[in-house]
Subunit: 412 residues, 2 copies
């Protein structure tokens, strides 16, 4: 069979395996990895999860192993809606909530429901790289809007929308990770949130709010969720991967009921329903208050790691480098002097210093960020962070110096 | 927000909610339902599953709640490959196996990897209705090939391929459920299997083999799996939903390694990885030999139900009706005299006789089968089957008589 000629056009748009290969390298046990965005497995409360799972199988085993309704287990959907009222300050019911098989399926379902080939999607620059993968796989045209320390630059967004409007283009979605962004760690300011809602509403563009890390706040007061500012203009898609554990593969979408109906149709053709066993475990876990204590413990753990990372960076990194100081989440974002290429530097870092990160370019729709990289501080053990940053410092020092040398060679 | 104008074109092709609504009706506790294709929850060995789950959380809890590799848990992939060697008589390795979040995700990934809008897909008539949903959502043109008691009529397939070839059309996939088909219960004969492989190979069309029910064989010798007849020309996508339980949401694809790589790319944008917890549970369950004893017990249970159903039908149904006699699986397929509409009959059946089935039309790409319906005998309790068939017999008797009356009114 000549398979090559049979693949769909979309496959050529998502064929970059470099990240997968690099992440594999980063999993070598001798490498201290700041690469993959993984929660610390030591944060998983296994005994509590075991108790809950046993209870579910004892009391609801037949239902837990059967098919469930496409929108999700009703009691869980109600519990999520109630919890969002408390956490995100928005009034919803089960009719707004669709349970998904993780945050990425949520993203895929939203893309599937809205994007025709050639449709425009707006993202932040940089943005979550899996979001780029999903939007590309639906053959979207991606327009990006730069960020600064207060998040997406909404005045530039407004210019972009004006330009697009002049060309008769109305974007289908505006994707944002407004709090402790992946990859930058930056949070959209309260003032910009209101401005963003206003601009998106004026141009009729739905906002796709991804709050994956928002509950992992180490300090300060949370700004308003976007969905609370305009419940009928925002699709909110979150995940239990960072607050409970990725292995359970559960997330959810909150959307206006008319959109919810369409998303359920899309899910009928995607995986029919999410794991009923997993849904009942999460529900029982949540109902017992265990998710709240789990999140509180995670915040404490990740705050310590963030502090260790920032302290080591500020002590050890050479001059000429800037980085973000996130108030929560998993990530911070490093900018080196121009002309240091963090992609080629990564192979060197793994080989010579046994330390890994993710290079900046894949987080941009159009290949910017060659001199940037992401540090994920959530995964390495607290005993390894300082040593990991020390290795990173040697890597960047070496590459900054090499850049000077090559500059001098070129002009000399 | 004016959501209606924002939806992707594909959504208009999958907007039929009639099945969802009917299945809801069929779940009323006073209705005996032969509708949904559900395994009998009494077949779930809850104690064994509890033991295994506890073992996984005790021994591998950290890994089981973390992200896993996109192709799946390596030990499970190896185990599946080994098991397929025994069950399906084909020699594979882990490099051929991709673990999916149920059989439907497997189908979605295959469609995503191969189908551009307008591409042609060949299916059986009738076929699995969720397959139609998936192929439609990728905007495929669907060509169907009729079945008889030996399965897909491969000589007619050959004519269809010849016609398509004359128009310059080479189909992207040929989808078949060759054993105990959903919905018909029919099995493709050994001779036709060889013919099918030959024809598909000559025209360069990959076969998509869906063996969801093949292991639930009540009698007779299994014919060759299609993948064993041409491992490089067949994509094989199966599920643990019928042999273990749907709530675990796991399936797999066996494909040539080059296709496997593409499917993994597609899964990166679909749900990243299937539940690591579920994968480790299934693996441990399988390794202990529990899946084999589970399947043996299921076969015994479903054989009894099949026998009860066939006996009751042959005792109670009025003349002028034909039905299939499956040697395994969940389904049999009933054909009423022409001009009895099983869709309108269903509303009447639920209302007046409190019995449910699925009407025939949705199983056809082009709306045939108005006088046919599917009986799923796996779900109702053994104490209810005879009474359920008795109710069905009254329903069909009433509608056949009404048809005679209306005929006489029309001609009289």
């Amino acid at each position: 069979m000549d398979w090559q000629r049979l693949y769909a056009d979309r496959m050529a748009l998502i064929s970059d395996r470099s990240i997968i290969e690099l992440l594999k390298l980063a999993e070598r046990p001798d490498v201290i990895s700041f690469a993959g965005g993984l929660p610390d497995p030591r944060s998983f409360p296994l005994e509590a999860i075991k108790d809950v799972t046993e209870w579910v199988l004892d009391n609801e085993g037949h239902a837990a192993l059967q098919y469930g309704p496409t929108p999700g287990y009703t009691a869980l959907r109600e519990w999520i809606a109630d919890r969002m009222e408390r956490v995100d300050h928005v009034s919803l019911t089960a009719d707004h909530i669709l349970v998904t098989s993780g945050g990425l399926e949520a993203m895929d379902l939203i893309a599937r429901t809205f994007i025709n080939p050639g449709d425009t999607v707006i993202v932040e620059a940089p943005t979550y790289l899996a979001a780029l993968h999903v939007f590309r796989s639906y053959q979207a045209e991606i327009v990006d809007v730069p960020m600064d320390d207060e998040g997406m630059q909404v005045d530039i967004l407004e210019d972009r929308l004006k330009d697009l409007d002049r060309c008769g283009i109305r974007p289908k979605l505006l994707y944002t990770v407004p709090t402790f962004q992946n990859p930058s760690g930056v949070t959209l300011s309260e003032e910009r949130r209101h401005h963003l809602i206003d601009v998106a509403d004026r141009y009729g563009v739905p906002i796709f709010e991804d709050p994956a890390y928002a509950e992992l706040r180490f300090e300060g007061e949370p700004p308003s969720s976007l969905i609370s500012l305009n419940p009928n203009g925002v699709l909110f898609a979150s995940t239990f991967s960072k607050t409970f554990g990725p292995g359970i593969r559960l997330g959810w979408i909150a959307a206006p009921p008319s959109v919810h109906t369409q998303l359920c149709q899309a899910k009928q053709g995607s995986d029919q329903c999410s794991s009923t066993l997993a849904q009942r475990i999460i529900y029982e876990y949540g109902k017992r208050g265990l998710l709240e204590s789990h999140i509180a413990a995670s915040i404490k753990l990740y705050r310590t790691k963030r502090n260790q990372t920032l302290e080591a960076i500020s002590n050890l990194f050479p001059p000429g480098i800037s980085w973000t100081r996130p108030e929560g989440g998993f990530y911070l974002w490093v900018t080196l002097p121009p002309a240091v290429d963090t992609t080629s530097m990564l192979a060197w870092a793994i080989e010579h210093e046994k330390v890994a990160y993710v290079a900046g370019s894949p987080f941009y729709a159009h290949g910017q960020g060659k001199n940037q990289f992401r540090i994920c501080f959530s995964f390495p053990d607290t005993t390894q962070i300082e040593e990991g940053v020390r290795r990173l410092a040697r890597v960047v020092t070496h590459h900054i110096e090499r850049r000077h040398e090559s500059y001098h060679r070129e002009v000399g």
